[in-house]
């Protein structure tokens, strides 16, 4: 074996190992949660109210709370994020100010989530007097995922070939018509990828909702967006640390349900993304 072939072999092996280092632990975690939690999953666990200090019964209100919260977050964050991204890429004059805005957005993506929680508590819950509620939580989570949505949307908009914009404008379309009919449809798959990343974060965060929406124990469904709610990640946190004598199966069952719920959100978003991709090719 000569030197070049050896180098090739080593590089390939190192890359394979790094890949495995990433993939194997992920699969192990998922596998472990499924293995430990699957026995707990039954219709009652998914559809019933918790009983006996959450040690028995189901986690229905937490599931519903999570769905409400994620949907609310997406409804708030997606239009705002797409709108800002369109403004930044299509309308704003590129210069010092837009660079500053982009830098701010990137920094926001790195702010610890508990800071968002405190911010939400201060602004939405207390100052705007929305109170501890699904709305306050969704607003807080929307702030949290906005940087992700904006950055992904911007990348998607930038990837739309300039020749499409030129063609549309040269045909006498207005700028807004061009954005609506050519730019956004073409950027949609990328925008939805951003939304998927956002959903993942919104569904899994504990710290922001702890301060803005989550109820420790609320064995009923939320009545409106101004109501508090139980939410899966927070529920998982309290049954793992705050409630004595909590059966382990319920903890793993809850984790598995959270995992499943996020997967379902991902699948829905992926299907929508594929739909848009197909439309672009047609």
């Amino acid at each position: 074996m000569n030197k070049k072939q050896l180098e090739e072999k080593i590089a390939f092996s190192v890359l394979t190992v790094t890949m495995l280092l990433v993939v194997v632990p992920t699969l192990l975690i998922i596998g472990y949660i499924i293995f430990k939690g699957i026995g707990t999953i039954n219709w009652e666990f998914i559809s019933a109210m918790p009983r006996k200090g959450m040690r028995e019964g189901g986690i229905f209100p937490a599931i519903v709370g999570t769905i409400y919260l994620v949907l609310g977050t997406i409804i708030l964050a997606l239009p705002l994020g797409i709108g800002s991204a369109i403004y930044l890429t299509e309308y704003a004059k590129q210069g010092k100010i837009t660079r500053l805005i982009r830098l701010a957005i990137m920094n926001l993506a790195g702010v610890p989530s508990v800071v968002y929680g405190l911010f939400g508590l201060g602004l939405f819950v207390l100052f705007l007097q929305i109170g501890t509620s699904i709305l306050a939580g969704a607003l807080t989570l929307a702030c949290l995922i906005l940087p992700v949505v904006i950055t992904a949307s911007e990348e998607a908009l930038k990837s739309v070939p300039q020749s499409y914009r030129e063609a549309s404008l040269a045909l006498g379309a207005t700028k807004w018509q061009t954005i609506q009919k050519v730019v956004i449809p073409h950027a949609m798959p990328g925008i939805i990828t951003g939304a998927i990343l956002g959903i993942g974060r919104a569904a899994g965060e504990t710290a922001p909702i702890l301060l803005t929406v989550a109820a420790f124990f609320l064995p009923r469904l939320p009545k409106s967006v101004f109501d508090q709610a139980m939410v899966l990640p927070y529920h998982l946190y309290i049954i793992s640390t705050q409630v004595p004598n909590m059966p382990q199966e319920i903890q793993y069952g809850t984790a598995l349900v959270l995992l499943g719920l996020v997967s379902i959100f991902f699948m829905i978003a992926t299907v929508i993304r594929i739909k848009f991709k197909m439309a672009n090719r047609a």
């Binding site: 004059k93 499409y164 063609a167 045909l171 006498g172 207005t174 672009n280 047609a282």
Partner: protein, 250 residues
Amino acid sequence: MAKISVDDLNLFYGDFQALKNISLNIEEKKVTALIGPSGCGKSTFLRTLNRMNDLISGVKITGDLKLEEQEIYQKDVDVVSLRRRVGMVFQKPNPFPKSIYENVAYGPRRYGIKNKLQLDSIVEKSLKKAALWDEVKDRLNKSALGLSGGQQQRLCIARALAMEPEVLLMDEPTSALDPIATAKIEELIVELKNEYTIVIVTHSMQQAARISDETAFFLMGELVEADKTQKIFTTPRDQRTEDYVTGRFG
């Protein structure tokens, strides 16, 4: 008769002056070819005629440009309606990733035409004018991206014609095409000049000689000479023009 008259046009990209004191009349229902070496400003000039240069930041333009009686560069000019009168075909075929039908119907739809029958007839008429109808009439709802390069370019011409423009600007429309597709487009251009005023930027001297009635020679941002094509290619007034068309540089 002059369809477009340009008087003392100067164009700056920031500090760089790309066009210098250009005055040129573009004749109605004639093919005017803009020739010159790369970077001479011919494409820039073409793009001033439908104000596509507006898209580039830092462009400054002075001078007087008129499409018949309409000013092109006044503050209150409606760029959208100007571009409906002055269509454009680009260097690389750039159909939208939509169906053939939707590509041609794109302009009319934005213009506000919703009636299906009306759109159908515009699409058919435009594709026929662009000599593409027979090749695509059975697959109007298929993706435009499935067409060959030459077909895509003719689709782009059809798409521009659907707006019923008066002037058609073409920016090296055959430079990305093979010789057979090029011949088809050239044939089409000669056909189209019966109805439209055509301005074409081309790198190919032969192409300019074959299809154009008038030729304008640009060099380093200046318009060196503009005259009947035959005259430019046989007895040019300027030595630089002669050097260029005989292939001594460029």
